[in-house]
Symmetry: C2
Subunit: 266 residues, 2 copies
Amino acid sequence: MIGFIGLGQLGLPIASNLLERGHLLRIYNRTASKVDPLLTRGAERAERPIDAVTPGGIVVSLLWDDASVQSIVTSEGFLDRLGPGGVHLSMSSISPEGARRLAALHAAKGSVYLDAPVFGRPEAAAARKLWIPIAGDRAAQARVKPLLEAMGAQGVFDFGPDVGAATVVKLVGNFLIGAAARSLGEGVMLAESQGVDPHAIVHMLTTTLFPAPIYQSYGKMIADKTVPFGPGAILKKDLGNLHALASATGTSMPIADRLYEIFTRA
Amino acid sequence: MIGFIGLGQLGLPIASNLLERGHLLRIYNRTASKVDPLLTRGAERAERPIDAVTPGGIVVSLLWDDASVQSIVTSEGFLDRLGPGGVHLSMSSISPEGARRLAALHAAKGSVYLDAPVFGRPEAAAARKLWIPIAGDRAAQARVKPLLEAMGAQGVFDFGPDVGAATVVKLVGNFLIGAAARSLGEGVMLAESQGVDPHAIVHMLTTTLFPAPIYQSYGKMIADKTVPFGPGAILKKDLGNLHALASATGTSMPIADRLYEIFTRA
C-alpha cells in the first residue's frame, strides 16, 4: 500500500498510472471528492494526511508549493507515523532551501525525504512520458525506482545523495522552458511584423536549430496564437524560487531576472 | 563560371564545397593570398569585385556586414556588369533594411538580389550541414537551388519572393541561439553553485527537454568551461540589427533587449 497525496493536474494522471500497474493507493486530497473516481480502481480514501501513511512505508506527494508540502508534513502525527524506514517521495516543484528543511524534519524522525520534482505536462503524464530528476539517500532512491517507472517516468536522473539538487535542476529546467518559449514568442512576433509567415519560421527553426519538444509545442501555440508564452502560474512560482536562490547565492542571472520581471509584471 | 566573393570563416569551406562538386569559381577576396590554395582546384583569382562577375551570371557573396556588402555592390562597374539576368546570391548576415536597399539597387540595373543568409558554423559548412533560408524572385531561387545544395545545404527554406524575409529569419535564429546559450549558461552556473554536477544537468536537459544541437554543443562548452556564452562578435552584430529592427517597428522584445545589453556591455 502506497500513500498518495495530491490529485492535482499531474497527481491525477500519475495516480491513475500507478493503479493501472497494480499498485494499491491510499489517497489524501484536500478536495476529497476528487478521489471518488479512483475508488473502484484500487484506491482507498484517506481522511487526513496521516491516514495515507503506513509506518516504514512510502508516501508520494504532488502538491503546489513549499507551503502546501510543509502543511502536510507538519500535519498532526504525519512524521511520527511515517517513522524509521519510511520514505516520503516529494515530487512537487518547491524551493531547494524548502526541500532541505523538509529533509531535516524527516531525518529527525528517522524517515527519508526524497527530492524528485517531475518534468512533464498532464498529457505527458498520461502518456507515461515524464522525466524525473531525483536526489537523496541512495537506498531510498533504489526503493522508489520501480514506483517512478510505474507512474510514467521515461527517464530518471540521479543527482546524488544531497536533497535539493533535483529541485535546483527542476527550477533551472523551468527557467529554460520559460526563456525558450518567451524568446521564440518575441522572435516570431518580430518576424510576423516583417511579413514572414509565423508557421514557416517556426517550421524552419524547430526542424533545424531547435528540434526540441519545447520549441515545437510552444512554437505551434505561438504561430497559432493560442498560448503566447506558456502556463503563467507555474513558471511564475518557479521563477520566483529561482530568483530568490540566485539572489541568496549572488549568482548573476540577467536573463532569468528579466524573465521574472516579465512574469511578475504580467 | 560562378563569381564568389568573400573567403572568410564560412566562405572558404563553402567555396571548397563548390569546387569539390565541379563548379568553376572566379573568386575575389580582399586579402588576395587567401585565394591561392584554391587556384589548383578550379578557381581563378579576380583582382577586383567586378572581375568576379559574368554578365547575366551568378555571383555569390559571403561578407561580414551591411557596409561590406554595400561596398562590393557599389564598387566600380559591379552592377552594370552583372546586368539583366544576373543574380547576386547574398549570403551574409546583414540587416533586413539593408537587404531591401541592396535589392532595389540591383533591380535598377535589371539584376536580381537574393536574400539567403546561411546558418551553420564553419565545421557545419565543411560537413555539408548548412541550413539556408532564402527569399527573393522565385525564378532566381530555382536557378541557384543546385548551387545551394552543392555548397553544403542540408536544407533550403523558401520564405517567399520579398527580399528581407530570410534575413529576418536569420536574425531571429541567431537571437534564439544567443538566448538559449546564455540562459543555459546562467542555469548551469546556478546549479553548480548549489553543488549540482554541471555535466549531469547538461546531460539531463539536452537529452530530455532540449535535445537540440545548439543546447548540446553550447551545453558541453558551458560544462567544460571552454566558451561560456558563444561567439561574441557575430551575435553582437546580429543582435544590434535585431534591436534596431525591433525599435523601428515598435516590437516589444524584453528578452532580446536584455541579451543585447549583455553583449554590448561585454
